[in-house]
């Protein structure tokens, strides 16, 4: 049996105003896989991601993290997941180090591991000198880096990223891609949304394209792009009705 880290089963989300944001979506991401989640603005990507990480309630369908339902075992699922939203608003009133220590406490990371990992990731993202300063004084990119360090700290089984490359400098983007591969090679999975199709094509093992809340196509990058590029496949989907 395949080791499914993320299973979205017939997930639908309807907002109180009656708008159906996501309709009967099913996606599976296996261990070691980087899965790109692609769609136009307002397609339902963030709505799906928020449900996957348990920050948004939903009634139809189910989402399983390593076989556990986010609905019935939210704490267990969250303990295996790390999430970075598209615009990570962190606590402006704490220092970067205090934030990372807080996240380490939340995920029960030993003192030895947190020291080692914070040191390593801070060095990787060039943030070692800035961790003693208040997050409020950071630029958008620096906040993004601290959020990423916080996400990698507990070596999550599932890493969920919403537009992770926005605001990152080229060097940090490069290191992030390396860390994503490294995490997946240790048996974790990554589910991330992006609008940068070149990145998705190079980085992902599989992709899902959604439009108006419905899955249009899903599969390995090779399957989805066919003989063209991922951009060609996406444009074909974007410009034509389902």
């Amino acid at each position: 049996m395949a080791n499914n880290i993320l299973e979205i089963r017939n997930y639908s989300k309807t907002y109180p105003n009656g708008k159906k944001a996501v309709d009967d979506l099913s996606i599976t991401v296996q261990a070691g896989e980087i899965h790109g989640f692609i769609g136009l603005n307002g397609a339902g990507k963030t709505t799906t991601i928020r449900a996957v990480v348990g920050v948004m309630d939903f009634s139809q369908g189910d989402i399983l993290i390593d076989g556990h339902s986010i609905k019935s075992e939210p704490v267990l699922c969250k303990a295996m997941t790390a999430y970075i939203p598209d615009n990570p608003d962190l606590y402006d009133y704490v220092t970067g180090m205090q934030y990372l220590n807080y996240m380490a406490d939340m995920f029960g990371i030993s003192l030895r591991d947190r020291k080692e990992r914070i040191h390593r990731y801070a060095e990787t993202f060039g943030m070692s000198k800035e961790l003693g300063e208040l997050i409020g004084s950071y630029s958008h990119g620096m906040k993004q880096k601290v959020a990423l360090i916080g996400a990698f700290l507990h070596q999550p089984k599932l890493l969920v990223l919403d537009e992770p490359f926005v605001g990152l400098d080229p060097e940090a983007s490069f290191h992030l891609k390396e860390l994503m591969h490294e995490l997946c090679s240790s048996g974790s999975a990554i589910f991330f949304s992006t609008h940068v199709l070149e990145v998705a094509e190079k980085l992902c093992d599989s992709v899902t394209i959604i439009k108006n809340g419905r899955k249009i196509v899903s599969g390995t990058v090779e399957e989805v792009r066919g003989s063209g590029t991922l951009e060609d496949a996406f444009m074909e989907v974007a410009e034509h009705d389902e």
Partner: protein, 526 residues
């Protein structure tokens, strides 16, 4: 519409909740706005009632001539409070500063629109007193229609100078404290000092009883006219039906307002830079900074960081217990007889009301609620709390624990001080320790419950979250009711004090336990 108008309209969209009411399709959101509006109407009705009673008192004792000066005094105090409580966040260090300043508008329009929105809120507060005062002045003093119009129109100018004063002092406090090592501590202390100064001044002026009403009111009237020259202009204009002093009053307010706007607009960017500048930390060591703790411990520690990151939040959350401690300490240094005389009480009153002692610290505990805004303050960062692997009740427990950490030590210290100075019976002494703790638990849990029900995440400054939420409003007023009602009932039925206190305690325990159980079953979503 010009740019000032557009900026002001955007400010007002955010101010009164009408826009949410009109455009939100969510029933929950609409209910929230309706509840806020109803609470606002209720509070306004109460204020109008009290100001009418006070003005009638003056009119019945033939002191209608003091109404203009008293109106200026009360409107000034109202404006000072509203402006100070809303904080300088109205003008400086706002979250949308970059966005607004990147628009093709000059800083003059930005400053003026922000001040106008704040001014309109002050005007609403002032009208609650001036309208009843004008009506009563019209009925009892039989003035000319010109004098009445001048009295009413003066409301437009009454908040201007106090607003400027409060903003200037608030700004100076913030800039000064941002230059110190412990910026927030300095800011909290200075803000406390300023609010206490206003309160002490107001109490000194208003502490009076029936027999002294005439002389004290006369004294207040002349004192206001002496210490606040614009008041004498209005007094002369209304009482003597002279237009010139009224124009002087209006011109002085407009002139000072204009100077303030021009100065602030001129240095707006520099002032904002001063506000957002924090002292750079030198170096840091990873090993030294890291400590391990439980998720609850980490949440609890972060709550304290959050609390002390906003001086208005600290002020709001600890005001009651600070006042209580001041009162308890004062009892140690001033003989009871002197305090009774100072407060205009007959000799022996304090000792006579000793059985009520356990309820007094409880009243102050209800004014010290941090939980009612603690969830709202998560704001846009709430995704972190929602995505960490802890039960929501652990998060609520941490917030409740911070509230209790603030209130319980202060309540215990004040209970010790009260027992030393008032020497109550053993039973009353024990209750003086226990009952306030029940109030503290009730206040913290009730505040948490309210904030879970009515979170306000869409704030533009932390002050806005601390001051403007429905949960904060309900918590403040219901807290005062829960604190004061038992005192009133005990005063009315002194022979049943023990039964009443026992009943109140049982009720507080029951409500607290029920609300806590409800919190335990609550889910937390962003």
């Amino acid at each position: 519409m010009n740019k000032y108008g557009l900026l002001l309209r955007m400010q007002l969209y955010n101010s009164f909740g009408i826009n949410r009411m009109l455009h939100s399709h969510e029933t929950k959101e609409r209910k929230r706005v309706i509840l806020s509006t109803l609470s606002g109407i209720l509070i306004s009705a109460l204020l109008i009632f009290y100001s009418s009673i006070y003005c009638l008192g003056l009119a019945m004792t033939n002191l209608t001539n003091l109404l203009p000066a008293i109106s200026v005094l009360l409107c000034s105090v109202i404006s000072l409070f509203i402006t100070l409580m809303k904080g300088v966040g109205v003008l400086f260090g706002m979250r949308d500063y970059d966005m607004v300043m990147s628009l093709p508008v000059n800083s003059f329009s930005v400053v003026t629109s922000r001040l106008t929105a704040s001014y309109l809120q002050n005007i609403v507060g002032c009208l609650l007193f001036v309208v009843p005062a004008t009506v009563i002045f019209g009925i009892f003093a039989h003035p000319s229609s010109g004098a009445l119009i001048m009295f009413l129109c003066a409301t437009l100018f009454m908040p201007v100078i106090p607003m400027i004063l409060a903003m200037a002092v608030g700004a100076l406090i913030t800039v000064f404290s941002s230059r110190t090592h412990h910026s927030n501590v300095a800011s909290i202390i200075l803000n406390f000092a300023f609010v206490l100064l206003i309160m002490f001044g107001s109490l000194q002026i208003s502490s009076t009883k029936g027999a002294q009403f005439v002389s004290i009111s006369n004294m207040v009237g002349s004192m206001v006219n002496k210490i606040y020259p614009p008041a004498i202009l209005l007094t002369n204009a209304v009482n003597r039906n002279h237009v010139l002093p009224f124009l002087g009053f209006a011109a002085l307010s407009i002139l000072l307002g204009a100077i303030f706007i021009f100065v602030i607009a001129h240095f707006y960017q520099k002032l904002n830079a001063a506000f957002t500048t924090t002292r750079q930390k030198t170096s840091h060591k990873v090993a030294a900074a890291l400590k391990i703790s439980t998720p609850f411990g980490a949440l609890y520690r972060r709550e304290f960081h959050q609390l002390f990151s906003c001086s208005t939040y600290v002020l709001n959350s600890t005001f009651g217990i600070v006042l209580l401690l001041i009162a308890a300490v004062m009892l140690q240094f001033f003989p009871i007889a002197i305090l009774e005389k100072q407060m205009g009480m007959p000799a022996g009153t304090i000792r006579a009301i000793q059985p009520l002692l356990p309820l007094v610290p409880g009243l102050f505990a209800t004014w010290s609620c941090s939980t009612c805004a603690s969830l709202s303050l998560e704001g846009k960062s709430r995704w972190i709390l929602c995505s960490i692997p802890v039960q929501p009740i652990t998060i609520f427990n941490a917030k409740i624990a911070v509230n209790l950490t603030l209130s319980i030590p202060a309540l215990l210290v004040s209970a010790i001080l009260f027992c030393i100075s008032l020497r109550p019976t053993i039973a009353v002494g024990i209750l003086t320790f226990l009952i306030p703790i029940l109030y503290a638990f009730f206040t913290a849990v009730f505040g948490m419950f309210l904030n879970v029900k009515f979170p306000n995440y869409d704030w533009t400054s932390t002050t806005n979250a601390v001051k403007n939420g429905t949960s904060v409003m309900i918590s403040s007023f219901s807290g005062i009711a829960v604190g004061i009602l038992p005192l009133i009932v005990c005063t009315m039925f002194p022979e049943f004090i023990t039964v009443i206190i026992a009943g109140i305690s049982a009720l507080l325990i029951l409500i607290t336990v029920l609300l806590y159980h409800k919190l335990k079953r609550t889910s937390l979503y962003a």
